[in-house]
Amino acid sequence: MNSIVKSQKKTVIITGASRGLGLAICNQLLQENYFVVAISRSLSSELSNLCDDHPLSIAHLPYDLANLDDIHTLCKAIIEEFGRPYALVNNAAVGHDGVLATMHNSEINSLLNINVQAPILLSKYLSRSMMLNRTGRIINISSIIARTGFSGLSVYAASKAAIEGFTRSLSREVGKAGITVNCVAPGYMQTEMTSSLQGEKLESVKRRSPLGRLASPADAASAVLYLMSEQAKSMTGTIMTVDAGSTA
């Protein structure tokens, strides 16, 4: 690690960095000269390429957020190695779809652990370091499903509504320490997570959107980058929807 290069950059920790929206956010963070700590279970070829292209600006940490017990140790190790972070992007999520009545309890449990408890614990341990710097950003990735509802996604919807509630209250708790806490709520995007949405159902979502298309991961990543910026210093406790107008 080149400490001189790193010291000039603000450190951002992002979960679920290996693909989809997480990867798009990593790309834009690197373009904007942040130092990125990219957390994901495994290293995708796309993220690996990004690490090769920016060896001084990004570090990959393999971690499975289903392991809640070691999140404190993970955060401690990150702070020791990379210093106090400027920002955390809680992006990792799972989206098992299925009728609630037949969803296995272990899947419900695992979804809530990864989508709700893991971001809460990461925020707990990393916001404390931000407090000592008197500045910081926590950006949680929600979904329009938190408010619109979608058959087959009730547990996922519950997890995203929980994250939005968490965001509003935490913003009140840590605002005095100069930390902002916001959500970005994307609509349907064409990522691996929504790959089950195909054919007529997908066309119908596109048709109903005022812009006649889906928002892209890059569109949602731009909203994250805005909330990360100095220009967004007076925004906290908000939910920014990026859905090509689908929920207008």
């Binding site: 404190h72 401690k76 702070i79 341990y125 404390r128 370091s129 407090m131 000592l132 008197r134 708790e173 840590v174 005095k176 320490a177």
Partner: protein
């Protein structure tokens, strides 16, 4: 005064400045933490600062939630964690 207690009191002073709080004078083992001048955010900062200084956050490492009432109890929690 033990080194540990001195470290904790030094950190309290540093954190009071960052948290924009004013510590009371003559803080002793019997001082009730919530009457020391630090607010709840200040205590969160104190735990973070001590984790950087001492390498441990005993409150996260203990299996059950513990909330020390006085400075003496707070120091004992760290003493036990470091022993």
């Amino acid at each position: 005064m033990s080194d540990l207690k001195k470290t904790i009191l030094d950190c309290m002073e540093q954190v009071a400045v960052i948290a924009d709080c004013t510590l009371i004078e003559n803080i002793s083992d019997d001082t009730v933490l919530l009457q020391s001048g630090l607010d709840s955010l200040g205590f969160a900062m104190l735990v973070a600062q001590l984790e950087e200084e001492l390498g441990t956050d005993p409150f996260s490492e203990m299996e059950l939630a513990v909330y020390p009432r006085t400075l003496g109890e707070f120091v004992t929690v760290y003493k036990n964690a470091l022993s």
